[in-house]
Symmetry: C2
Subunit: 347 residues, 2 copies
Amino acid sequence: MPFECALPISDYESVTLGHGGGGRLTQDLIAGLLLPALRNPLLEELHDGAILPSNGGGALALTTDSFVVDPLFFPGGDIGSLSVHGTANDLAMCGARPLYLTLSLILEEGFEIKRLVRIVESVRRACQESGLQVLAGDTKVVERGKGDGIFINTSGIGQVHPQADISARRIRPGDKLIVSGTLAEHGIAILSRREGLTFESEIVSDSAALWPLVETALQTVGKGVHALRDATRGGVAAVLNELAASGGCGVRVEEQAVPVREEVKGACEMLGLDPLYVANEGKFLAFVEPGCADQVVQSLRRHPLGAEARIIGEAVEEHKGMVRLSTVLGGSRILDMLSGEQLPRIC
Amino acid sequence: MPFECALPISDYESVTLGHGGGGRLTQDLIAGLLLPALRNPLLEELHDGAILPSNGGGALALTTDSFVVDPLFFPGGDIGSLSVHGTANDLAMCGARPLYLTLSLILEEGFEIKRLVRIVESVRRACQESGLQVLAGDTKVVERGKGDGIFINTSGIGQVHPQADISARRIRPGDKLIVSGTLAEHGIAILSRREGLTFESEIVSDSAALWPLVETALQTVGKGVHALRDATRGGVAAVLNELAASGGCGVRVEEQAVPVREEVKGACEMLGLDPLYVANEGKFLAFVEPGCADQVVQSLRRHPLGAEARIIGEAVEEHKGMVRLSTVLGGSRILDMLSGEQLPRIC
C-alpha cells in the first residue's frame, strides 16, 4: 500500500456497527485509514465541512452526509427533512449560509412509491424553508434485501459569512462553551419509535435548520465565535472530545447547567442512556470569547430554536484533549468518547 | 401534496430495478416526481451536473453520484476508482476541470476491513492521478443484511473552462456527433465477472478520467463543442435520447461507424445485448459544430484514451426528440430508450 494504513486490522477484521457510531471506532477508521489515504490540509481540519480556497467571490464551504436513519418516519421529521437539515447544518457549522444541495437516492427494489413521494415532499419543504436549491441528483436501485428501503446522500455548498472565522484550532482556554438548547430529543424520538415505546407526552425530534441561529451569533460578535459543532451522532460527549483533541485544550462541562427536558430525562433514565451521549439534530455547541458569551446567549434566545441557550462550561488549560464533567454532587468525572455504538442508525 | 406529482403511481406501486436503470422508468421518476418537487432553472437542465452562478471567480460545476456496482472488484477497476472517475467525468461533461470531491461510505456490518482498505487505496490513487482532493467525508454503517458490502457516494466541484459553453440546448441540426472511443466495455466487463463468464481475451472496463480529453477538445475549438455526455447507464442509446429530447432535435447514428471491439461485439452477441445500450465508464459523446468536427476528432486521437474517436452521426431537423439508427444493411430503425433495466447495478 502506498500510504500508511494505521488501522489496527487485527483488532477487528470486519466492519462493526460501532464504526458508524461517531465514537472511538469511527475515529479509528478516519484517523487510521481515510485520513492517511486522502490527506490534504483542508481534510485535516476534520470538521464536518470544508472551506474551499476563495476563487475571488468569497469562500465557499462544502460538506456531505449520508442518511440511513431507521425508522424512516419519526416524530418531528423523516429521512427527507433530516437529509436537508443535517447537511445544511454542517455548512452552518462552518459559518456558511447553506445555498445548494445535491440529492442522491439509493432505493431498495420494492420500496413503496407512496413513501418515496412523501419523503421527496419532505425534502422539498425543508429546502424551501431554508432557501436551499437542489442542483444535481442521482438515483440508484439495489435488489430486494440488499438495501433498506431508502438511503439518502446530500452534499451541500454554502457561502461563508464575511464575519466568520470558525475552527477548532481557535479555541482558547477561558473560552465559554454555549449550547443552543435542550439535549437528546432526536435520539430519544428515534429510539422510542423504533422500540414502540410511548411516554406521557410524545418526545419529538429536534431536527431543524440551525443557520438562522448561527447567523445571529455571527452578526452579534463576528470572530468572537471560535468554534461551532452540531451535536449529532455520539452526542455532546463525542463532539466535545473531538473539539478538545483538535483544539489542543481541555473542556470542563457543568452537569447542572446542561439543559434536558424533564420528559427526555425520564426517558433516558428508563432506557439507561446518558443524554450527553444521545444524538441531537437541531442543537449546536459553540466556543466563544469569554467577553462575548453573554451577548451570544442573549442573541440566540431571541430565536425560538435558541430559547434555552446557555453557557454550560468552558475551555481550560488543564487535561488537554480531555473533557471533564463537574457533577451535580460536586465531583468530577471524565466524559469519554464511547468506543462503539449506543444507538445505531440514528441519522 | 403542495407540488404536482406526475408519477403514474397506479402503474407501479413500488420501486423496481428498472427505476435505477437509466431508461424510461428512471426518466419517469425524475420527470414525474423529483423535478416537480425540486424544480429550479439549474436542475431543469437535467444534465449530470449543474453550473453554479458565478461568484466572481469563474463558474463552478457541481455534481453527485452514488455507486452500488456489483461486483465491487472487476477487470479494470473497482467501486473506489469508479466512484472517483464517475463523478469527475460528470464534471468534465459540464466542461469543468474536476477539483474537489466529497466521499461518503455506507458500509454493511461485517464488511471486511481488508476490502475497505483496498477500495480506499483505489480512491486515493484515482484522486492522485486526476489531481483531485477529497475535502469532506462521512461514514455510516447499517446492520448485516440491510446493505451490500459498501455503497459510495461522491459529490464533486469543478472549475468551468473559460472556453466552455456546454448545454444540450446548444445542439443544432447539422452538428456532428462524435464518440470518444470503443463502446460497451464496462458493462461487459461487469457482467462477465458477475456471471463467471470467460472470453478468449479478458474484457476490461474502460473506467477512466475523461477531463484530459475534454480539455483538449475545448482548447482546440472552444465553444464549437455544443454538448457533452458520458455514455454510462443505459449506454449511448439512453444518452442520445436524453440529448435529443433536451436539444429539441433529431439524432441520426450510422451503425457502421460505431466503434466496438471485436471481442466485445462477440460477447454482446453471445449475451443477446446491443452494445448501444451497454454502459461505458470512459467514453463520451459530443455534439460539435460541423466545421469543427474533424479538428476535434484529430485532437482526441492524439490522446491514448481517444485513439478510436470518430464521427458516428449528426443532429437533424427531422424526427425531433428521436434517435434513428441507419443500419449496416441500409435500413433505418428507431433507437429507443429501454423502459426497464438491462444490467442492474452496473455503476
